[in-house]
């Protein structure tokens, strides 16, 4: 297959419709960035959930050596823990539960502080400074009073945290932001699709004579479609590259240089940002190449 023609056509096509291609690239850029941000918000929500517990959870903190609650006489004993677990398991409001050891709590704290934990925390800070906990999943997140009063006051229980009050607003904000960004992305992606369709229609019209001759002399379908497909791929790559840059900038300036000093919860890191960029990189080419495949068939009748 001689590719000279394909590349000449590609160059001409890109030049001929430069404003249209720019419109596609910019729309793709904005919508893919929003898709990426939506992904990041989802991952942020996952981090929050991992850290705070789910919205329908109640966390029971068990005594450690430093606990000052009246139910604590030093660290919780295995017998006390077993008794508390029995109460939890027998309670009709609980769907299930799991125990988080002091070691797990320590790992979580280290993640929260990131690499700075060694400098920001006392040198002898270790698992023993943290409390073991029981995370109770509720059957119905509106019903927790029974189980809370049943556990409260048991020996070995330091305190109880009702995740619903603490985590609820955070999830609400994250959820709304996620829905907002994905909805906006959806509308923009529709716009991108329509722009791609228009570009193909214009190009097909501008090249109807060439295409007609190509069909007549027996050029293969793929050969006729190739300049269109490559154009679609190039606009997609440009859109994805811009979105990747924007998402990286967001990760660096808004998260790492921005909110990460607030030790509220673990924030999305570079691994998460990469995942968001991957989502954009997969979606971008699909959005331009698939309509091109469908529409060239329609407009070129190849």
């Amino acid at each position: 297959m001689q590719m000279t023609y394909v590349f000449t056509e590609l160059k001409q096509g890109l030049r001929r419709n430069v404003s249209m291609h720019l419109a596609v690239v910019l729309t793709l850029f904005v919508s893919l960035t929003l898709v990426g941000l939506g992904t990041l918000l989802k991952l942020q929500a996952d981090h929050a959930e991992e850290h705070f517990g789910k919205i329908n959870q109640v966390v029971v903190w068990l005594c450690n050596d430093a606990s000052k609650a009246s139910t604590c006489t030093g660290g919780v004993t295995p017998a006390q823990k077993a008794a508390i677990l029995k109460v939890v398991q027998d309670n009709p409001e609980a769907k299930g539960s799991h125990v988080e050891s002091q070691e797990v709590a320590f790992e979580k704290t280290k993640r929260l502080f990131g690499q700075q934990y060694q400098t920001k925390l006392p040198a002898d800070f270790g698992p023993d400074d943290l409390r073991e906990s029981i995370w109770i999943d509720l059957k119905d997140r509106h019903k927790a009073d029974g189980i809370m009063s049943a556990v409260e006051g048991l020996d070995g229980v330091d305190s109880i945290r009702d995740s619903r009050g603490l985590v609820g607003p955070i999830f609400k904000i994250l959820d709304r932001m996620q829905i907002g960004s994905l909805l906006t992305a959806g509308v923009l992606l529709m716009a991108a699709l329509l722009l791609v369709a228009n570009t193909i229609r214009l190009t097909a019209y501008a090249r109807r004579r060439e295409i007609g001759i190509m069909r007549l002399v027996g050029a293969g379908t793929l050969y006729i479609m190739l300049p269109f497909l490559l154009e679609a791929l190039i606009t997609a790559v440009a859109g994805v590259a811009l979105a990747a840059a924007a998402l990286s900038a967001f990760e660096y300036f808004a998260i790492i240089r921005g909110v990460s000093d607030l030790r509220l919860m673990p924030w999305v890191d570079w691994t998460d940002a990469l995942l968001a960029i991957e989502a954009a990189a997969i979606l971008g080419p699909i959005l331009t190449v698939v309509p091109t495949l469908l529409l060239t068939r329609k407009y070129l009748k190849v």
Partner: protein, 229 residues
């Protein structure tokens, strides 16, 4: 080479057919004029050979292939065996004469060596060797049609279809085009030409197939444009 067996073609949304049980047999190397009033079915006949449309009924065989059964992806290969020339030339205005002819080879993936050999050879055949670097708008109508014929013939097709190739040309120029088509026919290429040009048909005395209302009303071996009384 080309065989129509009781071929009917009805376009969607039309109640009477463009072709009605047409049976025609065209041998390899024949020169056939297709005549008839506008709307008689000439263009449909040519389109069926090119497999731009499929027959509603009956069978169309071209170069040994049953076109009703030909898979879509094999159509390009069929078309490489057929050259096509139109009344309006259909040249690419942004390409030179040589580039227009080369285009037909490049897009079917011929090697540069083939292009470099076949294009000058074909331009020589149509008598345009000295105008290879001209743009189409610098040429006369007759010369443009020669370029179109060169493009149709450069791949040495077994069949050449010409749809009113002299429709836009004066009689003297038309004669030149006919001589060229005749020369191509003598190389063994089957030529089918749809025309309204009575003078040419009468002069050439080739086989004439006349269509009227989608039916073959006349098929004469050495015919004239109209009935001779």
């Amino acid at each position: 080479m080309i065989r129509f067996e009781k071929v009917s073609k009805t376009y969607p949304g039309q109640d009477h057919g463009a072709l009605d049980k047409v049976s025609v047999d065209i041998e390899k190397g024949e020169f056939v004029f297709l005549v008839g009033a506008s709307g008689s079915g000439k263009s449909t006949f040519l389109r069926l050979i090119l497999r731009e449309h499929s027959a509603t009924e009956g069978r169309v065989h071209v170069a040994g292939k049953d076109l009703n059964r030909l898979a879509g992806w094999k159509v390009p290969r069929l078309r490489r065996q057929i050259g096509t020339v139109f009344q309006d030339f259909r040249l690419l205005q942004n390409k030179t004469v040589a580039e227009n002819v080369a285009f037909a080879l490049q897009v079917i993936g011929k090697s540069r060596a083939d292009v470099d050999r076949l294009v000058p050879e074909t331009l020589e055949l149509v008598g345009l060797s000295d105008k290879a670097d001209r743009m189409p708008d610098e040429l006369s109508g007759g010369e443009q049609q020669r370029v179109a014929i060169a493009r149709a013939f450069v791949n040495r097709p077994m069949i050449l279809i010409a749809d009113e190739p002299t429709g836009n040309l004066d009689p003297a120029t038309s004669l030149g085009i006919m001589k060229l088509l005749d020369r191509i026919n003598r190389t063994g290429t089957t030529v089918i030409m749809a025309t309204h040009d009575a003078g040419i048909v009468d002069q050439m005395r080739k086989r004439v197939v006349e269509l009227a209302g989608g039916k073959v009303v006349r098929d004469e071996a050495r015919g004239a444009y109209g009935y001779e009384n």
